[in-house]
Amino acid sequence: MKRPSLLVIYAFAYLIFLYLPVMFLPLFSFNSGTIVAFPIKGWTLDWYRKLGEQDTLIQALWNSLGVGAVTALLATAMGLFAARAFVRYRFRGQAAAEGLVMLPLVIPGIIVASSMLVLFLFLGLQPSLVTVTLGHTFLALPFAVSILKSAFDDFDASLEEASYDLGCGVFETFRRVTLPVVAPGIVASILVTFTVSFDEFVLAFFLSGNQPTLPVYIWSQIRFPAKLPNVLALGSILLFASAMLLVLAKYFQRRSTTRDV
């Protein structure tokens, strides 16, 4: 048996660093005290039981889910077309176009948020979930494009030609070849863009008006922590659910590539 190398020890130490803060959220969601701080008073499931009564919290959750879903669809749809254009066709100004689409990644959030607020008010759009969705689509687009671009990269152009050659038209080819082959990329894009939107705070803080998304609601509770244990309970559930989703997605991805039925 070999002594574990320094690198392995470092890898496990780093994992502890990554998980340490995250572990405290579920921990405090079982704490019976209302103040989220040490020492822990006692253990309770009350915060989970009372989740259903928190109307503003539930409303914020719905707001976030709605914004996330619409954002994911818009960004993935636009990203699908753009990624296909970037991978399959060559045209003048292509590099500039690809760079432009990536721009939202490298503009500081506060600047995007403040300038969009000014723009939407100028256009007569009052802050609401609509403006948040428009902003989130902007932020999520580079993620969608880069994920879908790598999906199209792996996609041999002669597959589509083979389908035309075997008698299928443009739409039938898209439905029977293009879509199934890039489907994992589309699913990944929807998941990631949804998460980007679901977790985004600064833009929503500026653009949501009186329709808070979940992060905006959490922000108000972090500073005035009356409802914070409820938030931690919800956060723990969401963390568990998304971890499960991720594991499941990986599992299916692996099954689909090695299936031998």
Binding site: S158, C168, D260
Partner: protein, 372 residues
């Protein structure tokens, strides 16, 4: 094989900007023949194939399949099917669904099942219906691609470098299998390849392309014996090229003065249409005799010195340096007695029968591809 033309190309040209990928292509393909388009990479052979398939439209000229003008007919409505160089096996479908792809929704289910089984048996993949696309070997992928195209019962099967992804042994085996398949089905095959041996062993006729032009269309034997110019002669097999001067032309015969060998009368090559007083002639390496002493029974002889020896197994190649000739002359000798008779530096004599000197006409200088 009948004399009916299944494909006719009339003055076909494909131009990308100022670049001529193919120009002046006139070609008639006969029903039931195995035809190969042969040429180095970038010569335009794949462009011609893709124009027949309908993936590219000619910028000039017409393509007729079974008498019908294909202008404006998209790939999915043409009576051709293609085996792609990468095979293009759909990764999300199993073997049976790949093969059935083009029939789905057009033919009743029971008939699809029967035809898939039949097609798989034809390419010797019987029973592999459920195998996933990612679990196939190179040779199996090639067979699936073949079955998927043939199940459509095309009037013409197009093959784009179908064997280039396979290793040497498998490639040789598939050459015979595909040739047998083609002959038993009686379908016209059009294959693109850069491999002269592949083209020669499989085809009824071969079209040789250089720089976007179809240089010569002939049977393998004629191409080898009567190539139309230096490019074709050198691309198909090996050829010693010598300059020569025409002294006199009488009734299909040429009196020439060839470098080194001197005066001789050779047959005028009808395929070599570029004529001039200064011509080039070609001699195949296996047509030359190599001896230690001056051979008495050869009309043309030459003295030289061995500059290189290469042992090929079934034959031996000698390079012989000759005074007043720039390039060493290559000589190929069958390895009958398992001995290498000469070594580097040996003085030798070359002997030649006049009938094996091929008239190649005037030497063409540069390519005329870039036009505006």
């Amino acid at each position: 094989m009948t004399e009916k033309n299944i494909i006719e190309l009339k003055g076909v040209e494909k131009r990308y900007g100022s670049f001529l990928a193919a120009s002046g292509i006139d070609l008639d393909l006969r029903q039931g023949e195995f035809f190969s388009l042969l040429g180095p990479s970038g010569c335009g052979k794949t462009t011609v194939l893709r124009m027949i398939a309908g993936f590219q439209e000619p910028t000039q000229g017409a393509i007729l399949i079974d008498g019908q003008d294909m202008a404006g007919v998209p790939a999915n409505n043409r009576p051709t099917n293609m085996v792609f160089q990468s095979y293009a096996i759909f990764p999300h479908l199993n073997v049976a669904n790949n093969v059935a792809y083009g029939l789905r929704g057009r033919v009743p289910k029971a008939e699809i099942d029967a035809r898939v089984t039949e097609a798989l048996e034809m390419v010797e993949l019987g029973g592999l219906h459920q195998r996933g696309a990612n679990e196939l070997s190179g040779g199996q992928r090639q067979r699936v691609a073949l079955a998927r195209a043939l199940i459509m019962r095309p009037k013409v099967l197009l093959l784009d470098e179908p064997l280039s992804a396979l290793d040497k042994k498998l490639r040789e085996q598939m050459q015979f299998e595909m040739r047998n398949l083609q002959q038993s089905l009686g379908i016209t095959f059009v294959m693109v390849t850069h491999d002269q041996y592949e083209a020669m062993t499989m085809s009824d006729r071969i079209g040789v392309m250089f720089d976007g032009r179809l240089e010569q269309v002939d049977t393998p034997a004629t191409l080898y014996a009567r190539p139309c110019n230096r490019a074709v002669a050198s691309f198909i097999g090996e050829m010693n090229i010598l300059p020569a001067t025409v002294l006199e032309e009488t009734g299909g015969m040429l009196s020439i003065e060839a470098a080194g060998f001197g005066r001789m009368r050779i047959e005028r090559n009808v395929n070599a249409t570029d004529r001039a007083r200064d011509i080039i002639v070609g001699i195949r390496p296996e047509q030359l005799e190599i001896k230690a002493d001056k051979p008495a029974d050869y009309p043309a002889t030459l003295k030289g010195k061995i500059s290189n020896v290469a042992f090929y197994g079934e034959n031996i190649h000698y390079h012989v340096a000759v005074e007043n000739i720039d390039k060493p002359i290559a000589v190929s000798v069958p390895n009958y007695f398992h001995t290498v008779d000469f070594n580097r530096g040996d003085a030798v004599w070359l002997g030649l029968q006049v009938a094996s000197v091929i008239d190649l006409g005037k030497e063409r200088k540069s390519s005329q591809r870039e036009k505006t």
